[in-house]
Symmetry: C2
Subunit: 616 residues, 2 copies
């Protein structure tokens, strides 16, 4: 391809008949959607149009049917040395089993760059294989192979087996038993501990009988203006090193530095969001500081990342022994330790590691356990229905047992495997699932961080912090500090974060870079790499285009203003403790302002907006 | 059929082509082999002869191949009201995955009688189904049905789903995930907690894709001389009630009464048979007495059993919570609590229950864990190989995790799933597996119970106490007391127990009855039921015939004197503590005497012996 930064090739694998085709990346689409999430969304949109032409009811495409389309995508920055944190990839599918909306997730490690080095920017999977298979790409040579010998194996073992077969310098993205068993929040795991976690993409792979993708190669993307890029990259790196979070907190503690930060903001929900966890002594037991002091063995980083927020840890306690793992992240600490009230890093690390091994999303897993705990506490689930799984808040044993049972749908696990929304519906108390659009909200309480509340409500993929990570501004004060507890300006803040995040996920790089560098830096670097001339405004327009096209897709599925909501608990039940004591989220005004800024009516982009964004 | 006691029908199900045939029970075979194990062994023998005629190498028939034949068999006493403990059935297969020898196991509950009431004495399964199936027999009407909806489900859930479908008064025998995953010691479970436990018959079912058998019906076997039978039965019941074990200890404590009894004899091996557990205070924590005091909710019994040794228990401790289960037995207490040195009934009951739910044999599971613990302790297994499973003696957490990992072959579980013999071979220390012919020896130390040592060595199915349960005489003193520590007379004792046990397993009744009643009682009752005229000598001859025919079969597989051995540890390492301190098993002299009594040369029945026993 004549645009640099890309390999220029897209692979299309039909799993039903095992045909494999290759076609060129479209320069015009690349200019308008970059790559990664943006390009993939655009491809999904084409699929939907094609389906509609053939009279297929796209609203009701089943996530596990052959019509679901799955896309692994890298972007122009993926695998470019000098572009900070460019070791990521984005995965997307037409339908998530958890949300029945678009499925979308992002992961680090080295799979993204290695996929590109193997010769492809994007891989599309259509159809459904009759027998388990995995895709092997070695230096542009592509083969679908039988996965019979690895079906049933954990992500750790699958990775080891396929890596040993292919040899050094390969990367494996795969599913575990949870994905094979189509647990609704099964994830994709690469490098054993990097997860494309949310919205159940692992289950989509499982239903397609696609166990893994192995990539290896030496095809390196070129840079249009290498000297200029080098200079800019140097400055960008200095910014990252200087920033207190990307330069210090994240490298030292990883995301668990957030435990104490969020505590100060009174923004840690507990007991399935019934309470606010506001007890410094207790939280200190599971803080980033304690993690460093007692559990961390070494540091670790994704490919090409100057931040290096990953950590290798161990648990010495026999009962919850873990020899050598990566993690936990803030969200695993919250999901297994705080919302379930099991304030114990031993259990949290064991649970986090087991989820990686079996292929489960930690946020949905922990949240679904906590939801079941409240359902049991309130009498909606009987003791008989739980059988031998005692889902009481604070019960460490139940956490580990629930994970095994969920991955294999054994006993009560068959209900947990559906996620909290369907669980709470089945047991007659839907209000006890703290989700948006079916996706469990992560552990930042929007009653204490208002912008995040608006983002949760309007995020296209559902209850998600990383769609518009306004916490950076509202809590961490970067790129600039805004008051977490006010509503003013939050609509614009959310829109900007959401649009910029689309740029980041289409670049593809890591959101954490945006703590230190802005869209101008992205524009400069992407221009140097690709040879396109982007400025900041144009990039933000690209982000907006991607976000609107994604919205257009979920509109097709029937999602609109009615679904841009928050759980009642966050709207009506005040935070009982801490700096945000007495607060709820007053969503409506923010949402109205947000729709105006977006040019949306009833949660749907208007024709004018689409025209303005050049969406066909 | 003109012989009473039987239904008179055998069912033959070909799983490969799903054909189902029915044929009559052979009166002459019934007279010479009774039913249950005896009749089934005879059928296996015919299969082998047929295979040999067709040039099939029977020695190397793979346990998971379509050539393996699986038989569920009841006997003339099964389901006869008034025959004590006649609620049992026997399962047998040509090849065990664990031992590569004959597979054989026995279970209580109500499946045996209900299978007979459904219209069949015996069910034979040939071949291998392409897709998961279960067999449904309702009042003589037989159907192979798709098991797609229950494949992957636990034994508990499978039982509930099929029972609800068929309605009251049915019984389900099924496998769990362990059987589906062909764990080499997977078992068959009926009534959720009754196990045909040993030699991996669950894995044979799993390989055949046979998930379950459901039976229901009202076809009742007749009795030839009902009035006479009633009278004898009454006397027999009195004997059972009067006997201290069948009348008191077993009803009160279940098999765990053995903990303290075996302790007094210094016959409880611990730490994978490295030590003798001889500490009364510690053992009191897991004794039958403590079980009654702290865990037992209600009593329970198999169909038609006046002994009622089963118990419903619960674990209140959150960490190892179990709401309502059956068990544990002495052997689970030993396997999860003593040989692993986890002296904790909470853990033991949790482990026992989980094995039932997932379909694993408790003795082999616990013994294999203990074997792995010693392999790790001695440096044969590295920390890296164990990954996150810390197999240290005394580690309660490892027990539960090991069970999950084994059932699904996850991580180190893939090695545990092979059983201790292959595990120890793989890691280069075969002497650390305490097995005979591949079957893990249960928790009675033969260094303190010499006859049991000879029985372990010569038991056809491998290291098994219930093949010749001389402990009854040697420790409990019934039917008569003999000294446990002497060798004199043990060859005859073992032979008699082994032969009589064949009678019991072909009747089919429960071994525990033989604590109170003898072969004369069996002869009288069986004569009344069938109308055959059996006396005690004839019955013992039948037992001997069955045992010799079984031996002939394992001889065909290459098992002979070389395999009638004990692990070196039991021959060379003295018991370090207790009444049998300083003892080993001096096997050779006993074995020589035993072979003479048996009429065997090199562990093989002579032609004369076979002729005497009328074995063709």
């Amino acid at each position: 391809m004549d645009v640099k930064g890309y390999i220029g090739k897209i692979l299309k694998v039909n799993l039903t008949d095992h045909t494999i085709k290759e076609f060129s990346l479209d320069k015009n689409i690349a200019k308008k959607y970059l790559g990664g999430k943006g390009y993939a969304i655009r491809l999904l949109y084409e699929y939907l149009n094609e389906f509609e032409k053939h009279g297929i009811d796209v609203k009701n495409i089943h996530p596990f049917s052959e019509y679901n389309v799955l896309i692994f995508a890298t972007g122009p920055a993926t695998g470019i040395i000098g572009f900070p944190s460019s070791g990521r990839y984005h995965v997307i599918a037409l339908k998530s089993p958890l949300t029945k909306s678009i499925a979308s997730a992002n992961s680090g490690g080295k799979f993204g760059p290695f996929m590109k080095f193997a010769g492809y920017d994007i891989i599309i999977f259509e159809g459904k294989s009759p027998e388990p298979v995995y895709l092997e790409i070695i230096e542009g040579s592509v083969e679908l192979k039988s996965a019979k010998h690895i079906w049933g194996k954990s992500t750790f073992e699958t990775t080891r087996i396929l890596s040993q077969k292919v040899g050094k310098n390969c990367s494996v993205a795969c599913i575990g038993p949870a994905g094979e068993n189509t647990v609704h929040f099964a994830c994709v795991i690469n490098e054993e501990h990097r997860a494309a976690g949310r919205t159940g993409i692992g289950a989509v792979m499982g239903a397609k009988k696609l166990k893994a993708i192995v990539v290896k190669g030496n095809t390196k993307p070129e840079i249009a203006k290498p000297d200029e890029f080098k200079q800019i990259s140097k400055n960008v790196l200095i910014k990252i090193k200087k920033n207190p979070f990307t330069g210090k907190e994240l490298p030292k503690y990883g995301t668990p530095f957030l435990v104490n930060v969020l505590h100060k903001a009174g923004a840690i929900p507990s007991r399935n969001w019934q309470k606010c966890y506001y007890n410094e002594n207790e939280l200190n037991k599971i803080s980033g500081e304690t993690l460093v002091e007692k559990y961390i063995k070494t540091r670790s980083a994704c490919w090409g990342c100057p931040i290096a927020c990953a950590k290798r840890t161990e648990v010495k306690n026999d009962m919850f022994y873990v020899s050598n793992t990566e993690g936990p992240e803030y969200q695993s600490i919250w999901a297994f330790g705080i919302t379930t009230e099991v304030i114990d890093l031993d259990v949290i690390i064991k649970a986090h590691n087991l989820c990686n091994e079996l292929g489960l999303d930690v946020i949905s897993m922990g949240s679904t356990i906590a939801c079941a705990m409240e359902l049991y506490e309130k009498g909606h689930i009987s003791k008989e229905e739980l059988q031998d799984l005692k889902l009481s808040f604070g019960n460490a044993g139940a956490i580990i047992e629930a994970i095994w049972r969920t991955a294999y749908k054994i006993g009560f696990g068959k209900y947990l495997a559906l996620g909290s929304k369907r669980l709470a519906e089945i047991f007659g108390a839907p209000e006890l699932s703290i989700n948006v659009k079916g996706l469990e909200i992560p552990g930042f309480d929007p009653r204490a961080i208002k912008g995040l509340g608006l983002n949760y409500a309007t995020a296209n993929r559902g209850g998600c912090n990383v769609t518009g990570y306004t916490l950076f501004s509202e809590i961490l004060g970067f790129p600039k500090k805004v008051d977490a507890l006010t509503y003013e300006g939050k609509a614009m803040l959310v829109k900007n974060f959401q649009d910029f995040t689309c740029v980041v996920n289409s670049t593809v790089s890591c959101l954490f870079t945006t703590l230190a560098i802005g869209v101008e830096d992205y524009a400069k670097m992407l221009s140097c790499i690709t040879g396109f001339e982007f400025n900041a405004n144009e990039l933000m327009k690209i982000g907006e285009r991607i976000y609107n096209l994604e919205r257009l897709i979920i509109n097709k599925y029937g999602f609109d203003e009615k679904h841009d909501i928050l759980p009642k608990r966050l709207l009506n039940e005040i935070l009982p403790k801490g700096p945000a004591k007495g607060h709820v989220v007053e969503l409506e005004k923010m949402k109205e302002e947000y729709y105006k800024l977006r040019g949306w009516v009833n949660g749907r982009p208007t024709k004018e907006k689409l025209k303005e964004l050049d969406i066909p």
